[in-house]
């Protein structure tokens, strides 16, 4: 804890900016019902009202308040992305650590399956699954978890394979500890840093991926306020030179930039640490 604070004090401006933005998003998501002037899918005015005192950012195609939907969007879009990333990560990390720690034919079989999954473009495969099973949030989350766990798997496996040959793991094996004990007590504590970086990276990919699917009308379904779908619903305003529909897209980009800034900094700190050690 103390070390973290010391590191934060010496952090340059970009990652600090990133952290502030991430915190702000979380705060907005948590306090959405308090700070938003209107309800999530409440129709409060006529269609496409301009920016003003009553409706801060105007209203959308159905007469719902844009600002309120933007605030609620932080809940839906970011929330679903977090759930999906967590699932992706658990799936990839568990089978990756297992493959790395066990080695042998388990590793071979799992790695070949992952190789095949990686050779398919995720968007194309996701579209195929959505066409067959229909669009629903559960299908979406599960499909993405399977398609995106490949990268997590590779990193977890590589890290585990490096750690499992260390002397302290040998000792644990000789003591008669089981494979899960070794993964939980020896491998996991020694591989948190690369896994945290990977989590951040995966989150960005998953977040952008879900937004794109929502934008195409195949992701998060109405009337839930979601940034990707909001752009699509109000896209006709853009042909009049109105930038309101771009705001949700900007919100997506800003969060992704913030996370990338923090990740870049963590990786940089890690690599300098390794160089000194």
């Amino acid at each position: 804890m103390f070390q973290t604070i010391k590191l934060l004090k010496r952090a340059p401006l970009p990652p600090l900016f990133g952290l502030v933005v991430i915190l702000a998003y979380l705060l907005v998501a948590l306090s959405a019902p308090i700070i938003s002037p209107f309800g999530e899918s409440e129709i409060v005015g006529s269609e496409y009202e301009p920016w003003g005192n009553q409706f801060l950012l105007g209203t959308d195609a159905l007469g719902r308040d844009m600002a309120s939907r933007l605030i609620y969007g932080a809940r839906n879009s970011v929330g679903i992305a977090i759930v999906t990333t967590t699932l992706t990560f658990l799936l990839g990390a568990i089978i990756g650590l297992l493959a790395g720690a066990l080695g042998g034919w388990v590793d071979q079989i799992l790695s070949r399956i992952i190789d095949i999954l990686m050779s398919i473009p995720p968007l194309i495969f996701a579209l195929l699954i959505l066409a067959i099973l229909g669009t629903s949030i559960t299908t979406l989350i599960l499909t993405i978890a399977v398609l995106y766990c490949t990268r997590v798997y590779r990193i977890a496996r590589a890290v585990a394979a490096n750690i499992v040959v260390m002397d302290y793991c040998e000792v644990a094996k000789l003591r008669g500890e089981g494979i899960w004990w070794i993964i939980l007590h020896e491998i996991l504590p020694n591989s948190t840093a690369p896994l945290v970086v990977e989590f951040g990276l995966r989150f960005c990919f998953v977040f952008l991926f879900i937004s794109s699917l929502s934008f195409l009308g195949l992701g998060i379904q109405p009337p839930a306020a979601d940034w990707g779908s909001m752009v699509r619903e109000n896209a006709s305003l853009i042909t009049f030179g109105d930038i309101t529909p771009i705001l949700p897209a900007g919100a997506i980009a800003l969060l992704a930039v913030a996370i990338n800034l923090v990740i870049d900094w963590i990786s940089a700190v890690r690599s300098t640490k390794n160089r000194i050690a």
Binding site: S119, P121, F125, A131, I132, V231, A249, V257, N260
Partner: protein, 336 residues
């Protein structure tokens, strides 16, 4: 794998063949590519089996009578065993017959033929814009690492990587199409247009794709070049007193070629798949737009065909990237 390789090498040596190991590696990659294609075609075909219950019932809805469902099942060939259906499907697909659209009843190959050409046209324009630009930026930022210019470009590229494609697309529409009136925001090209007109109408979607792909390509190029510039033989060359431009051309460039070619091919694969969103935004009549339409209509045969084409292109470009990076690797080219 390595035992296999040794076995082959011994076999070839015994017969007094002198086969360059590079050929063996390439043949292995080709075989792996073919195997991947086969598995992917299996996945695309059998994904339909994922559906709990019956696809015919699912598509026709609960209101459909038993006879219509049975007729529909027969039309899809669902009354035959899956393995048989797969072999029929694959054989027909290889001949160019992709079945009938469930929604319109038209031949799928007829629906997509013009669109495939359009999609490759769009991806082609984007590649022509993106490749030189990203190589130039990647090389410059690597040579002038940590300069103000490098940092500026890096911040811009980080933003581009973090932005969803529709964000970039709509910003381009607002500023270049609506406010400046330079380009049309709707790219509904048709075969009667001349090449110049087609390029003019496809410019904004191509630019969107370029922005999305340049960021990755430039970053990967930069890393590849920095990797080489940091290696000990470059340091050695400098220590020998060779001039900077000679070091870059004679020592760095030759070794940078392999990773750069690899980066380009990889990103072209990404680009071909990335067209989907750009096509939808700009109403470009390509394969991606058809794919999205068919997904919402749940027109499975069209979706399968489009997925097969996209996946095949993606795998093929990745394979080319692999093989080119083997061929351009000096260590494999001149075995000791």
């Amino acid at each position: 794998m390595s035992r296999m390789k040794r076995h082959w090498r011994l076999l070839l040596r015994r017969r007094n063949f002198k086969v360059n190991p590079i050929i063996i590696v390439i043949l292995q990659r080709l075989g792996l590519g073919l195997l991947t294609m086969f598995v992917v075609s299996l996945l695309i075909f059998f994904a339909v089996e994922l559906l709990p219950g019956d696809i015919a019932q699912e598509i026709l809805g609960q209101a459909a009578t038993e006879e219509t469902v049975a007729a529909f099942r027969q039309k899809l060939g669902l009354d035959k065993p899956p393995i048989l259906r797969y072999t029929y499907w694959l054989r027909a697909a290889l001949k160019g017959d992709l079945g009938e659209s469930l929604a319109s009843g038209r031949q799928v190959s007829q629906l997509i033929s013009g669109r495939v050409a359009n999609t490759f046209f769009l991806a082609g324009i984007s590649a022509i814009l993106a490749v030189p630009l990203s190589l130039f930026l990647g090389i410059i930022t690597a040579l002038y690492r940590d300069s103000l210019f490098d940092r500026f470009i890096n911040v811009i590229m980080l933003t581009a990587i973090s932005s969803p494609q529709f964000f970039i697309a709509y910003i381009l529409i607002v500023y270049l199409a609506v406010k400046a009136g330079l380009f049309p925001s709707l790219s509904n090209i048709d075969p009667s247009m001349s090449l110049g007109e087609k390029i003019y109408y496809s410019f904004l979607p191509a630019l969107t794709l370029t922005m999305a792909v340049v960021a990755y390509m430039m970053r990967m190029t930069r890393v590849a070049i920095i990797d080489i510039l940091d290696s000990s033989y470059i340091e050695m060359a400098y220590l020998k007193g060779i001039k900077r431009y000679r070091v870059i051309i004679k020592h760095a460039f030759v070794n940078a070629l392999a990773p750069i070619i690899n980066v380009v091919a990889l990103n072209l694969a990404y680009l071909v798949v990335g067209v989907v969103i750009s096509e939808v935004i700009f109403g470009f009549p390509g394969l991606g737009q058809l794919l999205i339409d068919s997904v919402s209509k749940r027109d499975i045969t069209v979706v399968q065909a489009a997925c097969l084409i996209f996946a095949a292109t993606y795998i093929l470009l990745n394979l080319i990237a692999d093989i080119l990076s083997i061929i351009t690797n000096p260590r494999l080219l001149y075995p000791r």
